[in-house]
């Protein structure tokens, strides 16, 4: 029979828990307790040796379950296990269950003769009864059902890869993180590239498979959760790893090299005409010497500590950069973190240290170099990109081992940085305030370093040839990030021309400096509300930089994407609260979880739908999984206290859905109030108008909603029944389509009659041509991506409210979308020309 040990900070508590449990088990279970310390003045605490003795007193080969309360109880119990012989240790399990509930359940099951696994599992869900009783959150049982039913044995599946970049580093990292959640072993084969199988726990092995768009991948899992594991990964593939389907638009043609004496040409990456002093950065790679060591354990400890420190450094860099880069770009560093614990890399390093008795530096270097050789055999640009990440990680760890961890790329004065190539960890440290431009003599358009430089908005040119490195420090240079040209000590004439070009570029973004504090207004000073579409902290900061009137759409999906299972209420609460604090004083519209269609969450195994865009999307999903919905609402309402919070439901197609969702909000508010938690009880509730049915019954909806927001992308697609990803028909789904314009007009009319506002949050809202039309149709608020804000501000200033109204009237009388588009385009061009003329005079 299995025995139980109870560990607590309090001796009395530990003893009483045993008594309580024995009562349930009728005294039949062997139990011992370890609690408190022998100190009359301060008796609370834990003692690993006491725990050890308690375990030994009831030890049996059938098993010992150790139940602990909090903090040091757990740590002391772990320490106690270290003093127990290897042969016995395997029979002792530390249980994560809540102390009292868990111990009672465990004792009852021990008495009933249940298996060790069963007892442990049941003890861990001991709180479910309580949770269900109060009707809050989902219980752990329910989560399991949501993920999928479990299975045993092996399972496999062949999947065709559809994301444009294939299994490059970020998706590969997601696969590794996903695989590590399951017990089953997972192998991946690339059927279109006869490589060996890759262990899905090793990012390097996956990268070496060279999986590209269109390739077929076979996933094979063995173990008790094989089916779940394969399904989870399959969903990741189906969701295209959360990547934008268009892919990054990389410059494909290389400008022919016209290397004059003082002009260098490279590949333009990120635009901007910049002049400044050159700073030539020569990256020193650590010099590693190999030597014989005696004590392998110490050497291995050194390597482990260096790996740990390298991990901290990456975390720190990402933390520092979180306002400049979005989570998708920062995910590049997930790859680095996975390399630091890659079983293959570590396995070889360990072998070198223990078998060949060489020092940690040399062992790490050899292990990595061995990998890089394998990469270099394959002439594939994506794999070379991965290789660059591995080199970056190699250097980071070597610097830690050699005590060079403080080598950073920092400059005092603003300059243009010249270098042969940079690693991602160099680029993430660049301060865009100081590094005005970046020129590399080598580099690769798909490399993570270059992607990051572009994401940081630093004007960048790469591949400009080795002459770049001959430039003297502090030389005066000018670069044009749009054409890829670099001038060294340019003549006055050239400089004047470039300065003029640079000014005209700026003029098109409104002459002079951009003023984020100015209200958004049309030419005749009619004020328009412009708000931002954001998805995380980085975009919130960007929106503030450009000046906005609030947040028109906070896409909450991003938050769910960053986790491998549902984010908890607390996790969500913190993220929402931080964003609301940043946007303090402004209204924030949050769209509740909008998955389905082309957006999946890998941890929900939704049934495959024949037509996902017409399936369980948006509010339909939330209403089907009320526990997830409630958790999100609780987090939002709590975080939104003392903020102007608005909640909006996506994909609403009937009044009943709106009523049900509102009812759930009311329930959640009641619960929070009962629990005595502070929350926003004046939240405004809105409906996203994106289904034709909603436009037709908008008058009814307007009676029960506080605001509308038109999701133009989906509305056009559903109104015209055209799939925007199908190039054969995509042009039919035209935003200028008369049906779309009439629908918008109808919605704004009935909304205004009911006294509520209408905003628009699709891509359309930032198109300068259609802007006057939307204004004329009665849109009250424009919600656009932060980068588009300056464009909208400028476009508004070209026309008057009266012009917008008269153009709209005319446009609505026309017969076709093409006609309307041409008409508006002509009008817009005319006002812009007039504006520029008056500006120059």
């Amino acid at each position: 029979m299995i025995s139980i040990v109870v560990v607590s900070h309090s001796a009395k508590l530990a003893e009483s828990v045993c008594e309580l449990a024995q009562q349930v088990a009728q005294g039949s279970v062997k139990m011992a307790f370890a609690g408190g310390v022998d100190d009359d003045e301060c008796p609370f605490g834990t003692d690993a040796i006491k725990i050890l003795k308690a375990i030994e007193s009831v030890y049996t080969d059938e098993g010992v379950l150790v139940m602990a309360d909090i903090g040091s109880s757990i740590m002391s119990a772990e320490t106690a296990l270290e003093f127990i012989g290897d042969d016995k240790r395997d029979n002792i399990r530390l249980c994560e269950a809540p102390l009292i509930e868990g111990t009672i359940v465990a004792a009852a099951l021990v008495a009933a003769g249940a298996s060790f696994d069963q007892i442990e599992q049941e003890a861990c869900s001991a709180c479910d009864v309580k949770i269900q009783h109060f009707g809050r959150k989902k219980s752990s049982q329910e989560i399991k059902v949501a993920v999928s039913s479990s299975s045993t044995g092996s399972w496999e599946k062949i999947i065709t890869v559809s994301n444009p970049m294939g299994l490059h580093a970020r998706p590969a990292a997601q696969c590794v993180m996903a695989a590590s959640r399951f017990n089953s072993s997972l192998l991946m084969y690339n059927l279109d590239n006869e490589d060996e199988a890759a262990n899905v726990l090793s990012i390097n092995q996956i990268a070496r498979l060279g999986v590209r768009q269109g390739h077929r991948v076979r996933l094979v899992a063995h173990g008790d959760d094989a089916k779940d594991a394969v399904t989870f990964l399959e969903n990741l593939f189906r969701s295209n790893f959360g990547e934008p389907l268009k892919g990054d638009d990389f410059p494909t043609s290389i400008v022919p090299k016209a290397e004059g004496k003082d002009i260098l040409t490279g590949i333009p990456i990120s635009p901007g005409i910049i002049e400044g002093e050159a700073y030539v950065f020569k990256k020193q790679h650590p010099n590693v010497q190999e030597y014989h060591i005696d004590n392998s354990v110490v050497e291995w400890n050194r390597l482990e500590l260096a790996l740990e420190q390298a991990k901290h450094k990456i975390h720190r860099l990402c933390r520092d950069a979180r306002y400049n880069l979005n989570t998708y770009d920062l995910a590049i560093f997930d790859v680095h973190l996975l390399c630091l614990k890659d079983p293959e890399l570590l396995g070889f390093a360990r072998k070198f240290i223990f078998d060949e008795k060489i020092n940690a530096e040399a062992a790490w270097q050899r292990s990595i170099d061995q990998h890089l050789e394998a990469y270099n055999l394959i002439p594939d640009v994506y794999k070379q990109t991965c290789a660059a990440d591995v080199v970056d990680v190699k250097v980071a760890v070597l610097q830690m081992l050699l005590g060079e961890q403080n080598v950073t790329l920092s400059v005092e004065e603003p300059c243009i940085l010249l270098a042969k190539d940079l690693d991602p960890s160099d680029v993430i440290q660049l301060n865009p305030e100081k590094i005005k431009g970046l020129c590399l003599s080598e580099g690769n358009v798909t490399s993570h370093a270059v992607i990051l430089a572009r994401a940081l908005g630093i004007p960048t040119i790469i591949n400009s040839g080795s002459k770049l490195l001959e430039v003297q420090d502090n030389s005066f240079i000018v670069m044009d990030g749009a054409t890829g040209q670099i001038w060294i000590n340019p003549q006055k004439k050239v400089l004047a021309r470039l300065r003029k070009k640079s000014c005209t570029n700026k003029a098109s973004r409104k002459r002079g400096s951009y003023d984020p504090n100015k209200p958004f207004q049309t030419k005749d000073a009619s004020v328009v509300r412009v708000v931002a579409n954001i998805c995380d902290m980085a975009s919130a900061h960007k929106a503030l930089k450009y000046g906005v009137d609030g947040v028109g759409l906070l896409r909450s999906e991003f938050l769910f994407w960053n986790y491998t299972s549902d984010p908890s209420e607390e996790e969500q609460y913190k993220v929402y609260r931080d964003i609301f604090n940043v946007m303090s004083g402004m209204s924030c519209v949050v769209r509740t979880l909008d998955i389905g269609g082309d957006k999946f969450l890998p941890y929900y195994n939704l049934t495959e739908e024949n037509n996902a865009f017409m399936g369980q999307r948006g509010i339909r999903f939330s209403l089907a999984f009320p526990s997830i919905f409630k958790t999100q609402l609780r987090a939002l309402l709590r975080a939104g206290v003392e903020h102007s919070l608005k909640i909006m439901f996506p994909m609403v197609s009937s009044l009943e859905e709106l009523r049900m969702a509102k009812q759930i909000i009311a329930e959640v508010q009641e619960e929070l109030s009962y629990e005595g938690k502070s929350f926003n009880n004046a939240v405004e509730i809105g409906v996203m108008i994106e289904v034709p049915a909603a436009t037709i019954i908008a008058d009814k909806m307007a009676q029960e909603a506080d605001f509308f927001s038109i999701g133009s992308n989906d509305l056009v697609q559903y109104l015209t029944a055209t799939d925007r990803s199908n190039t054969e028909v995509a042009s039919l789904g035209h935003p200028f389509h008369l049906a779309h314009l009439r629908a918008i007009k109808h919605v704004t009319e009935v909304a205004h009659q009911a006294g509520i506002t209408v905003s628009i949050c699709g891509e359309l809202a930032s198109d300068p041509i259609i802007l006057p039309l939307l204004l004329g149709l009665g849109i009250d608020e424009f919600s656009v991506d932060p980068v588009q804000i300056p464009i909208v501000r400028e476009a508004l200033s070209y026309f008057t409210k009266r012009q917008a109204l008269s153009w709209t009237k005319k446009a609505l009388s026309m017969d076709s979308g093409d006609e309307i588009k041409k008409f508006l385009n002509d009008k817009y061009t005319k006002v812009v020309k007039a504006h520029l003329k008056s500006d120059l005079n």
């Binding site: 605490g45 003692d47 040796i49 740590m75 320490t79």
Partner: protein, 209 residues
């Protein structure tokens, strides 16, 4: 070179330091924890050093350090017990059989000890724990020794880094230990564990001066 007598002096100085700072550490812990860190450290070091007095005369440095670790594990009481215990028991493994410690030994000892704490506590720099002191101190020590400094200079730089580390915990939000239940309210308070780590390193410096 650090001799056995230095190590013994270190432990008895640590005992004095924790006795003097018992109330101070407990006050720090009262703000963000369960108000027992000073009591625990004082109890742990007092009892451990009492028992250490009876250790056989021919014991080597590794044995002394290892025994201190085990004694701390069973006498401190709070999470600091397993954490400091791991520091000394894991550190001791790197200096097994040594009768005195040269530059390499002291570096291996500190590195392995810090690694022990990292593994036991599963915390990172920035979590408002003793690692905010121990990791920078370990780095400074390693750096100084590699720069050719002597042990005294290296430990001095480690203590300087430790002092900065203690200060760095004040604006942090706790991510580990009981203080993390307080979330943001832990901001603005100096971490007691980081403080005791700094005191421990300062005692080492005093002992080898």
């Amino acid at each position: 070179m650090i001799e056995k007598k230095h190590i013994i002096r270190w432990f008895s100085l640590a005992r004095e330091v924790f006795e003097e700072n018992k109330d101070f550490l407990t006050q720090l812990d009262a703000a963000i924890g369960d108000a027992d860190h000073g009591i625990n450290m004082n109890r742990g070091f007092t009892r451990a050093t009492d028992i250490l007095k009876n250790i056989p005369k021919n014991s080597d440095v590794g044995e002394i350090v290892s025994l201190l670790g085990v004694l701390l594990i069973s006498n401190v009481g709070g999470a600091a017990g397993p954490l400091y215990g791991s520091f000394f028991t894991q550190g001791a493994k790197a200096i097994k059989g040594k009768t005195s410690l040269d530059n390499d030994d002291i570096q291996s000892f500190i590195s392995a000890g810090v690694m022990g704490v990292v593994k036991r506590g599963k915390a990172d720099v920035g979590d408002k724990t003793m690692l905010d002191v121990l990791i920078p101190a370990e780095q400074a020590l390693t750096q100084s020794l590699q720069d050719g400094k002597n042990i005294l200079e290296a430990v001095t730089s480690a203590v300087d880094a430790a002092e900065k580390g203690v200060q760095s915990t004040i604006p942090m939000e706790a991510k580990k230990g009981r203080a993390c239940y307080l979330g943001e309210r832990s901001i603005g308070h100096q971490d007691p564990g980081a403080t005791s780590s700094f005191l421990l390193l300062k005692a080492l410096l005093e002992a080898i001066k």
